[in-house]
Amino acid sequence: MKAETTDKLKILASAAKYDVSCASSGSNRPNKGKGLGNAAPWGICHSFTEDGRCVSLMKLMLTNHCIYDCAYCANRKSNDIQRSTFTVNEVVDLTIEFYRRNYIEGLFLSSGIIKNPDYTMERMVRIAKELRTTQNYNGYIHLKSIPGASDELQQQAGLYADRLSVNIEIATENNLKMLAPDKNFKDILLPMNTIRNKIIENKEERRKFKHAPRFTPAGQSTQLIIGASPDSDKHILNLAGNLYNSKKLKRVYYSGYIPVNSYDKRLPALIEPPLKRENRLYQADWLFRFYNYSINEIVNDDHPDLDLEIDPKLSYALRNPWMFPIDINKASYETILRVPGIGVLSAKKIILGRRYSKLNLSNLKKIGVVLKRAKYFIRCNELKALTINELLPENVRSIILNENKPLKQLNGTMHKQLSLFPVN
């Protein structure tokens, strides 16, 4: 390992950091013939950086040279930055050595576009192939699929990688054209369709031939940048919903836009990255994937954007007070799941636990229900308390919001500590 590798690692790790995808879950790749590594189906994080994000995969750019000039990207052609390119061996060595020391769960490889899509993709596939065949490495590999690369290369990539992804970045085609003149939706959606079809084909094949090689066992994902274009949450979530349904994506990632090219006047001037909005979008994403909400219930024409102060589930409950209070000891699983403060696990435990005896507040607390939010929306084996219907939604909202604040912010003078020797 030469000294210049250290510099390359600095440049190309730093270039890859804006990609948020870091999941190492969803693949079950056993260790073959006493080789190195296996992919744990639940995924493992190995460290956490000071921005609070997990480090599971070693995220690298193969190169940060790029022929495109996308306004939101730090590696765009017109930026005057240090550029560098890894050799195939350097990436392979780093992956193996880091993996052996239990630093990482696998490799995440992305790349700027050099020469043409096929040339770029071919080198990425070579790295994955080298790892899988020569090194007998069975850890996780996530490859960025380069739009415009040939079907043959996509096919090979899928055989070596656990996950493939193509980033959409901007949620509407017009805005994408404005910010990234070299890109269009058609080119991005094409590889997504190819990958989806191959996954379906592969599933059929494996039904017939048990040992047929697997094609991207952890599926495909994509990323949307939030706040670089004026798209509403309604638009973003509907796009995400479509991707989950029609392209069978495993994950859609939302990445709050970090102003890397503030000189570009096509981009909004942000004071700070929209982290709260990103957080709310993930919550909404979870609601329609795991809580049986429809997107229309979370965002619609009356409420095109998510409420930044409260989470989307609470926000939905406050807009629909007629549903509540829900009787914990009688209601169905789906209904209980709609109570703010009750998650999938607690809801399941409630269903199981109430067979034995009627549940009261202290039982619920032990199960793990967040009573601070839930208590206004439920009835249980306890004296009748004030619910959302008596208190009215706007009051419940302000009570919950104010409970989060420390006392001194609420009323600076009332909670002052008494002094024995007042000075005045």
Partner: protein
């Protein structure tokens, strides 16, 4: 007060449960010989571990419950929490005495307690899998030590064995002074003469470190620093996911646990 004393093994604890049920004496305290404190007014029962009695109870639990639940009980035992013995006693007694399935009856106190304990153990064993860092030595052994809150290293052995099948490795518990060594064939339990390894930080002495080791630690640290997005700095979440007690094992944190954060 009825005080039962056992030898700190799982078999011993189940023997206690067997004997107390047979004698029809309700234990109010169950202590291991290690944590034993004499109590002037207690009626003491010193129970000798008996594999047959263990089998009898364990088979009853297996019959009434399922394999997954037995795992749960064992995990809870590994937590070594104060009074976990009594919780396990109550739980097993409940399972044996109730005609129907009780493991999800969350209105029972011992069910909730046992589940919380096993959850803590599960989480800690995941942390071992996350934060163990191997250091390569001159004789090609990948060494690591860890200081887990609960006795969870045994739960992680099969994970490391499956994953690092082609390298020799050691995972050592510095708190309980034992570890496991994989020699490319089998895993066995070991204790180490501690001259070459610092017990505090688990760091291997420089003279037996592999020549490439320092370089990869440096590369990893530089990777870690460069993947961070400064504009998104969020120390609260950072500390929540990566508590300081793990820092002394992490090269990316310079093996330091006392770092001043602003």
């Amino acid at each position: 007060m009825n005080l039962f004393i056992y030898d700190q093994t799982f078999e011993g604890l189940l023997t206690v449960i067997h004997d107390s049920m047979e004698m029809n004496v309700e234990p109010e305290k169950i202590m291991s010989t290690k944590s034993f404190q004499d109590d002037l007014f207690a009626i003491k029962y010193d129970i000798a571990t008996d594999p047959d009695k263990f089998d009898k109870i364990w088979n009853q639990v297996k019959e009434k419950s399922n394999e997954e639940n037995c795992q749960r009980i064992f995990k809870a035992f590994l937590s070594e929490l104060p009074d976990i013995e009594l919780t396990i006693y109550n739980y097993i007694k409940l399972i044996i005495e109730t005609p129907y399935n009780v493991e999800v009856n969350f209105s029972e106190d011992c069910v909730v307690k046992l589940n919380n304990a096993q959850k803590k153990v599960g989480r800690e064993s995941q942390r071992v899998m996350m934060f163990v860092r191997f250091q390569k030595t001159v004789d090609d052994i990948y060494y690591s030590s860890f200081d887990p809150k609960y006795n969870v290293i045994p739960l992680t052995v099969s994970h490391f064995k499956n994953r690092f099948a082609d390298q020799k490795w050691v995972v050592f518990d510095t708190r309980r002074k034992f570890g496991y060594y994989y020699d490319l064939e089998n895993v066995r339990e070991i204790t180490i003469g501690q001259q070459k390894v610092s017990l505090e930080s688990g760091k291997v002495d420089n003279d037996i470190l592999h020549m490439s080791e320092k370089l990869f630690q440096k590369l990893w640290k530089s990777y870690y620093e460069n993947i961070n997005i400064i504009e998104r700095k969020n120390l609260k979440v950072h500390m929540q996911f990566l508590p300081k007690r793990f820092w002394k094992f992490l090269p990316e944190k310079d093996f330091k646990s006392e770092l001043i954060l602003n």
